[in-house]
Subunit: 232 residues, 2 copies
């Protein structure tokens, strides 16, 4: 069943976002009487299209909540790579994405484009959440500087330095954790100064091993690993 | 140092592929006297550009060999998704990629385009191998039917069936293995008949958990996990 995140739920009536009415009618070509899944406040409801402006809840559906809160802190990259990360990270269960200006980012200031970008990234996350049937849409924050990060829980930074602990040894050393944040560097890596700043803020430097990965592959790698670890 | 896979090595002289001469001269704008890394027969050599048609070995460089032979069996998908898989799987250490016609593949016969496609995919793998400084280029085979697969080692098929063993439990049950093959299904999954055929051929059905991933994300997920497991 097609899943949509809704804008509001008033008693048993569902208010969708404008785009989604269009999607239901013109893309999915659904008819009156068809059912859809609607997510509101992390709960999932089976609903019926009574009319194209009248969608009603039939029943609540049981669904799995996310247990681990995963935050990704990613540098500003070229548009295509950013889009890729937002889509794939959402599929793989990210909770929050914080874009940041890295010293070696090609783009160091998006200025007036920032608001538009955040709307675009949020839309990608919403669509990917619907496609992968998540109950939450990842939060996309405004673009930060490293010193503005306020993070609790387990804190990691992917480092290109040699002879440091790898991700596996680090994760195996942890007991329970319900929040984890990972900072990924840009092409060319974080500067030593940036990494030191993060270390001072409590971020542990770890390596992902000897492979040379493109920047946009790194978040996917880490999220895959976190999903794997949480398999029971 | 820029890395190239070479066509031939005759004593100390290196013969590159035509494209790479162009890349050195016109893209990288290198000069006589500059050094490059060249891979031949899984060995890496530091070389000097004596002239644009004369490249000589200076010395062999120590390098890590891949220990685990990973084969991916992937359905024919739309071009962009195929390209994505070939590039990312190469980055993450795949050894061989076998494309196959799945019952639910949108494209069920590439006919005369097949040869061109394989050349394209091989080129993507070569470039990604150079970028990620691998010593081997993954082998891309011709497009197979499932019954043509001849595989030894550990054999897995990613299933959408419920209540089956997950990847983690399965991998943890293995002792040493040096070859692993994973079959990934198309959008909509393998048919029950296809999965049964693979089971009969010794492929174990496993689940990757509850996440709903796009097809092209699955190989990256698995390769990330295999890299993680092999961290020491």
């Amino acid at each position: 069943m097609q899943r949509y995140f809704c804008k509001e739920k008033i008693n048993n009536q569902i208010i969708l976002y404008d785009d989604d009415y269009h999607h239901i009618k013109n893309v999915m070509r659904m008819n009156k009487g068809d059912n859809i899944e609607v997510v509101y406040d992390k709960k999932v409801y089976k609903c019926e299209i009574k009319d194209f402006d009248l969608i009603e809840v039939i029943e609540e559906i049981n669904s799995n909540e996310e247990n681990l809160e995963i935050t990704l802190v990613i540098p500003i990259l070229k548009e295509q790579k950013m889009d890729f990360i937002f889509q794939k990270a959402t599929e793989l269960g990210v909770s929050k994405i914080i874009p940041f200006y890295a010293k070696r980012s090609i783009v160091s200031d998006l200025k007036e484009k920032e608001e538009k970008k955040i709307i675009r990234w949020t839309k990608i996350c919403k669509e990917a959440s619907e496609q992968s049937k998540r109950n939450t849409i990842p939060i996309v924050t405004s673009i930060k500087k490293l010193e503005q990060l306020k993070i609790d829980g387990v804190k990691l930074v992917c480092s290109t330095r040699e002879k440091i602990e790898n991700l596996k040894i680090f994760l195996q050393s942890l007991s329970n954790y319900d929040k984890i944040t990972i900072v990924v560097g840009p092409e060319g890596g974080l500067t030593l100064e940036e990494e030191q700043k993060l270390n001072d803020m409590g971020f542990k430097s770890i390596t992902l091993g000897n492979r040379i990965m493109r920047v946009e592959t790194v978040p996917i790698f880490i999220l895959s690993v976190l999903n794997y670890i949480s398999m029971e």
